[in-house]
């Protein structure tokens, strides 16, 4: 045991830029520390700002109004429940489509598919991360939306379906690259063992390497979901933005992010404006929860210290 792992551990221990006392000593130290402190302060300020402006809603007991189904600002109703439902529906359905696809691509790259195609496929997915979101939205508005409109003859085509298809494409690289990097660590260590036992490559991938990659698999799902919840532009451009709970995938939806963008661009005076802060707070807390969750999983999957 000791022999087997000591090399790896020594490397990690020696790789840290810390002296035995744990303090970092180099010229730019103060600068870096101030930058870190400043960034942390901005996050807290952001949270404080959102909390402060949405506080009246909580204090005055208008939460019921906030979580109502009706967004009629001119009648004093500003329920954001449809937007919350829309956000969840869109993010979950986009994840449900992109995740299996991403996992399939990773398995293809790591040995289910011909090695000749693996590298071009990976390059393609990596290239996708560089495409601006607006391009996806734009192409979708001109190609996907009319196609859905003609195909299903239901509404304008600006719908949950159009948004989820586009959003799935957007979060696909996040999912693929995370699972890929995890498999890239796990597979080389296990493949030779499995091969020498006469286990075929596809079985090794499915029954040995994949179960050993659970951290990456979970992280990909969580980050993919986070990316989907946080995206504004796709929903804004192709989901149709009707502030109501959809009856089917062909109906228009409005997400929280798109809602905030829409209201901010048209109205910044009325009292309903406060509901936006509540929406912002919800998004902020969702993201924070996702990051904390990821941190927890990571510390459980790779406990700090020397383990044994």
């Amino acid at each position: 045991m000791l022999n087997r792992n000591s090399g790896k551990r020594d490397f990690t221990a020696g790789g840290r830029l810390t002296s035995p006392a744990g303090r970092i000593h180099f010229p730019g130290e103060l600068l870096l520390r101030s930058a870190a402190l400043f960034s942390a302060l901005i996050i807290f300020a952001l949270f404080g700002f959102l909390a402060y402006f949405s506080l009246p809603l909580f204090i005055e007991g208008r939460l019921g109004e906030l979580f109502s189904l009706h967004w009629r600002p001119f009648q004093g109703q500003f329920g954001i429940l449809p937007m919350i439902v829309g956000t969840l529906l869109l993010a979950l359905s986009a994840l449900a489509l992109a995740y299996p696809l991403g996992l399939g691509i990773c398995l293809f790259i790591h040995g289910l598919g011909p090695a000749l195609l693996a590298r071009p496929l990976l390059l393609l997915v990596q290239g996708m991360t560089g495409i601006p979101t607006v391009v996806y939205g734009f192409v979708s508005v001109f190609l996907l939306v009319p196609l859905l409109r003609n195909l299903f003859a239901h509404g304008s085509g600006f719908s949950l379906l159009a948004a989820l298809l586009t959003l799935a494409l957007l979060i696909l690289p996040t999912i693929v690259l995370l699972i890929h990097s995890q498999l890239g660590q796990v597979v080389p260590a296990l493949r030779l063992t499995a091969t020498a036992l006469g286990i075929a490559r596809e079985r090794e991938l499915l029954y040995i390497s994949l179960p050993a990659s659970s951290y990456g698999l979970l992280a990909a799902a969580i980050l993919g979901f986070g990316r989907a919840v946080g995206d504004t532009l796709i929903a804004l451009m192709v989901a149709g933005n009707a502030a109501r709970i959809p009856d089917s995938a062909f109906d228009s939806i409005r997400t929280l992010t798109a809602h905030i963008a829409l209201v901010v661009s048209t109205d910044s005076q009325s009292t309903t404006y406060q509901s936006l802060f509540a929406g912002g707070l919800i998004l902020f807390l969702t993201t924070a929860a996702i990051n904390l969750l990821l941190h927890r999983i990571k510390s459980r999957a790779c406990p700090s210290g020397d383990g044994s």
Binding site: M1, L2, N3, R4, A189, L190, R191, L192, T193, A194, T195, A196, L197, G198, I199, A200, R203, E204, Y207, I208, P211, A212, S308
Partner: protein
């Protein structure tokens, strides 16, 4: 050079084997005939091609990039000598019959029990009860049963180096191989643990055809029924039991080489 061991009923015949990686020759014109007579030990300086020769026997070299081979390898499978590269031979089936244990223990990152059950499940059609019976049998065979029977569900990585290596051996034996290829199986273990593994190999030679790579003269002397000395991708000497027993031959030979 004439092989010292005459082949009356060989279990391994290699003829004019050349192996290269990325155009660099690693094995050159290997001719070899092995018959029963104890453990075969491949001895030689590092880079002499010992591991490549070992991996040629379960065709594991093919999984490394830039691999090129010519020549024939015949192993006794199901009672008769068969060319292992012929298309009718399934490479995964071959590897089950020609089991391999590596230099460093490579347990799977899962429980002790699952390390043994999973390969059985993936490559055999034994049912659950048969699989469980089989793992007890092999754990007893490598003298690990009494040490782990109470904690089969615990992670295999908590075992000591020697226990892990015996677990790897058990995992290979569970597939009922005819051959055992051992690539410096005690290189990562301490002296005492190495001794225990060597004693175990001496027991196992009754039931398996064992070919081991070693870099230790002491070890080779202890376990070998036949020593094959390699240098620069070629076999330079072969010693049978008498040659190994002779106190001068081997040290003299190695002095020339290293």
């Amino acid at each position: 050079m004439e092989p010292t061991v005459t082949a009356d009923k060989p279990f391994c015949l290699i003829a004019d084997l050349h192996v290269a990686f990325h155009g660099r020759p690693v094995l050159k014109a290997i001719d070899l005939s092995l018959d029963s007579g104890g453990i075969t030990v491949l001895l030689g300086p590092s880079g002499s091609g010992k591991t490549t020769l070992l991996r040629a026997l379960n065709r594991l070299n093919e999984d490394f990039p830039g691999h090129l081979r010519s020549g024939r390898i015949q192993l006794r499978l199901a009672g008769e000598l068969q060319e292992i590269h012929q298309p009718e031979i399934s490479v995964t089936a071959l590897r089950r019959q020609v089991g391999m244990v590596f230099q460093t223990p490579n347990v799977l990152p899962t429980s002790i029990q699952r390390n043994l059950l999973l390969p059985l499940k993936l490559v055999t059609d034994l049912d659950r009860e048969e699989r469980e019976a089989r793992i007890e049998e092999v754990l007893r065979e490598v003298h690990l049963w009494s040490e782990v029977k109470e904690r089969l569900k615990e992670s295999a990585t908590i075992l000591s180096g020697g226990q892990q290596q015996r677990l790897c051996l058990a995992r290979t034996l569970a597939l009922k191989p005819h051959y055992l290829l051992l690539d410096e199986p005690t290189a990562s273990l301490d002296f005492k643990t190495s001794r225990a593994i060597e004693d175990l190999l001496l027991e196992l030679q009754e039931n398996y055809r064992i070919i081991a790579v070693s870099h230790s003269l002491r070890q080779a002397r202890k376990i070998a029924g036949r020593i094959i000395v390699m240098k620069d991708g070629e076999i330079v000497h072969q010693l049978d039991r008498e040659g190994i027993a002779c106190p001068e031959t081997l040290p003299q030979l190695l002095e020339e080489l290293f």
